[in-house]
């Protein structure tokens, strides 16, 4: 590994300000953190310059999990690509599915049915809860609170079970389709969600009692990795990271998509901008998400879940295929490569408020069922890019606290 240390050192940007002139002094030592390390959770690498235990500078490096998702997006059809979006932020794949097809439907100009909108809202919020559970759980785990992590992970299992009943897959769901979803929601799923709504607040209370006023945890996170409001805007922070710094930006309120305009919920903000504030924002957001799910699941509109056959985007259900000539023809045509969707030669951007922040897709259509360009705007990249700014001056043990609170998912980082 000597070789890679040397190259990493060479790549450090040249020191310009007097404070950083000391960075190249002999007493500094370099520590390679990752790409394989339990506290990075995924494959990302940090090259830390340390003075004793204090971090003088950090050099984040990514690309270890680069799989060329955007290039693959130019070769898979709109419906096929949803399986790839699962693998971007695999902590909350349902939210990625919703984001991708939200962008596709924006480009194609498809208006979803009310039932589909509500179902997608429910699964997106459940994905948010499961993401925040893991993120906060991992912050606890890295700062020494193992029980807290297990409390969170148990409830994630419950959400997995809901998704499994809903679509058959626990982890990589690929649930949405252009103009609809792969399976309609069933009474069994609704019953499971109701049970979850009943039981989950108690777990949240337990988790808050375990950690929110825990002296060790508060000492490890309060005042660590402070991001000011101006810096958050300048550095492109979104999601809980931005909201913890006092930027009240939440696309669910700012640009209400799906059925969010119908529900009563609040944007959770803090002003401190440190790891503790990010923890608090995520904890509170889970309660708000639960409120949304509770309102949505009791008011699922009746009617079809996919857009109608006339729009020629989603496959008609089997009853129509086998009993009507229109259904047969429509099903047949949608399977043919030159008779599928009508895609405009245009481009559009659409984003949703994913658990990590603004997850958007910029899609260029060229008349084909395949995107000409499928740009993914990943929140993790911008959140990770500010890591050196947040960690300078803190100690080595704070690295895991800051990294955990940013919730960097390498698969989404590299795509």
């Amino acid at each position: 590994m000597v070789q890679s240390f040397a190259t990493a050192e060479r790549r450090l940007p040249p020191a310009s300000d007097p404070e950083s002139a000391a960075r190249n002094e002999d007493y500094l030592w370099t520590l390679n953190f990752g790409p394989q390390h339990p506290a990075t959770h995924t494959t990302l690498r940090l090259v830390l310059k340390l003075e004793g235990e204090r971090v003088v500078d950090a050099m984040p490096e990514m690309g270890y999990l680069h799989s060329g998702f955007e290039k693959i997006g130019e070769h898979l059809t709109f419906n096929q690509y949803v399986t790839v979006t699962d693998r971007m932020n695999y902590i909350s794949p349902m939210a990625n599915n919703v984001a991708w097809h939200h962008a596709v439907e924006t480009l194609l100009g498809i208006e979803l049915t009310p039932r589909c909108k509500v179902i997608r809202t429910i699964i997106a919020e459940l994905a948010r809860i499961s993401d925040h559970l893991l993120c906060n759980g991992a912050v606890g785990l890295d700062t020494g609170a193992f029980t807290f992590f297990l409390y969170g992970f148990y409830q994630r299992e419950v959400i997995y079970d809901i998704f499994e009943t809903l679509c058959g897959a626990r982890f990589t769901n690929s649930y949405t389709r252009v103009g609809g979803v792969s399976q309609d929601i069933t009474p069994l799923v609704i019953e499971q969600i109701r049970t979850f709504i009943k039981k989950f607040p108690k777990t949240l209370d337990d988790m808050e009692r375990l950690l929110t006023r825990n002296r060790i945890f508060v000492d490890r996170t309060k005042g660590v990795g402070v991001l000011t409001r101006d810096e958050a805007i300048r550095r492109g922070a979104t999601g809980p990271v931005a909201r913890a710094s006092g930027v009240p930006r939440d696309l669910r309120k700012d640009e209400p998509y799906l059925a969010y305009a119908d529900y009563d919920f609040q944007i959770c903000c803090a002003t401190a901008g440190d790891c503790y504030a990010r923890y608090l924002v995520r904890m509170q957001e889970m309660r708000e998400s639960l409120r949304i799910v509770a309102q949505a699941v009791e008011n699922i509109p009746a009617g079809p879940v996919n857009v109608s056959m006339d729009q020629r985007t989603s496959k008609p259900d089997k009853q129509q295929v086998y009993s009507t000539i229109e259904g047969t023809i429509s099903h047949f045509e949608l399977a043919m490569s030159n008779r599928g969707f009508e895609v405009p030669c245009e481009e559009s951007y659409a984003a949703i408020e994913a658990p990590n922040g603004e997850l958007g897709f910029y899609i260029v259509g060229d008349g084909n069922e395949t995107a000409y360009r499928a740009r993914c705007r990943p929140p993790s990249v911008l959140n990770f890019a500010m890591f050196p700014h947040l960690i300078r001056g803190h100690t080595l043990s704070d690295v895991v606290a800051v990294l955990g609170s940013l919730n960097v998912i390498a698969a989404e980082l590299d795509r």
């Binding site: 590994m1 000597v2 070789q3 890679s4 190259t7 790549r11 940007p13 990514m62 690309g63 680069h66 060329g68 955007e70 290039k71 693959i72 130019e74 070769h75 924006t106 480009l107 100009g109 810096e231 805007i233 300048r234 550095r235 492109g236 930027v247 930006r249 700012d254 640009e255 405009p344 030669c345 245009e346 481009e347 559009s348 951007y349 984003a351 603004e358 958007g360 910029y362 260029v364 060229d366 008349g367 000409y372 360009r373 740009r375 705007r377 990249v381 911008l382 990770f384 890019a385 500010m386 590299d414 795509r415």
Partner: protein, 174 residues
């Protein structure tokens, strides 16, 4: 087009001459010549578009039917896009800058938004567009030994066999 965005575009036209703008699905795009890109972005930032959402690029090499917004720059290969937003009013605006081979070059917007740092590095990495004034223009996701720019349309999906030539670090020679 919402009236406020139209107002800002009128202001832009006052300062920089008439720029081609278009709208699709309620999203406004404005095409800016590469010589003025930094000035226009700086002006838009003062006008309230203080949040840089994304910087990316499209390679129009094989594009069959150039859309309306591209007519003014027909024939140019690369279309950069800067997605801007306002944290106060939540308006959005897309700035397009069209570049062409050889050596597509544009000025960096890192002095305006630190967020552009890694985003522009990614565009350089995957499309090979030079950003003048970028503090640290290195590859972001591909390894340094990599020579091509893989999101260009003339780069095959399967790659060109670069992986076989990557240096192998063994325990002995590390």
């Amino acid at each position: 087009m919402s009236s406020s965005v139209a107002h800002v575009l009128a202001e832009v036209a006052d300062h920089f001459g008439n720029l081609h703008s278009s709208e699709f699905r309620g999203q406004t795009r404005v095409v800016v010549p590469e010589s003025q890109s930094l000035e226009v972005c700086s002006f838009l930032k003062e006008q309230g578009f203080d949040f840089l959402v994304d910087v990316s690029c499209v390679d129009y090499l094989e594009y069959r039917d150039p859309p309306m917004q591209m007519r003014s720059c027909a024939g140019r290969r690369y279309g950069l896009m800067y997605l801007l937003a306002s944290t106060m009013t939540n308006r959005r605006l897309t700035v397009r800058v069209f570049l062409d081979d050889p050596e597509p070059t544009v000025r960096s917007v890192v002095p305006l938004w630190e967020a552009a740092n890694w985003l522009e590095r990614e565009v350089w990495d995957l499309f090979g567009i030079q950003f003048v004034g970028h503090p640290d223009l290195r590859r972001l996701v591909m390894p340094e030994e990599f020579s091509a720019h893989p999101l260009r349309k003339d780069y095959p999906l399967q790659g060109r066999g670069e992986r076989h030539n990557f240096p192998v670090i063994t325990r002995e020679n590390s």
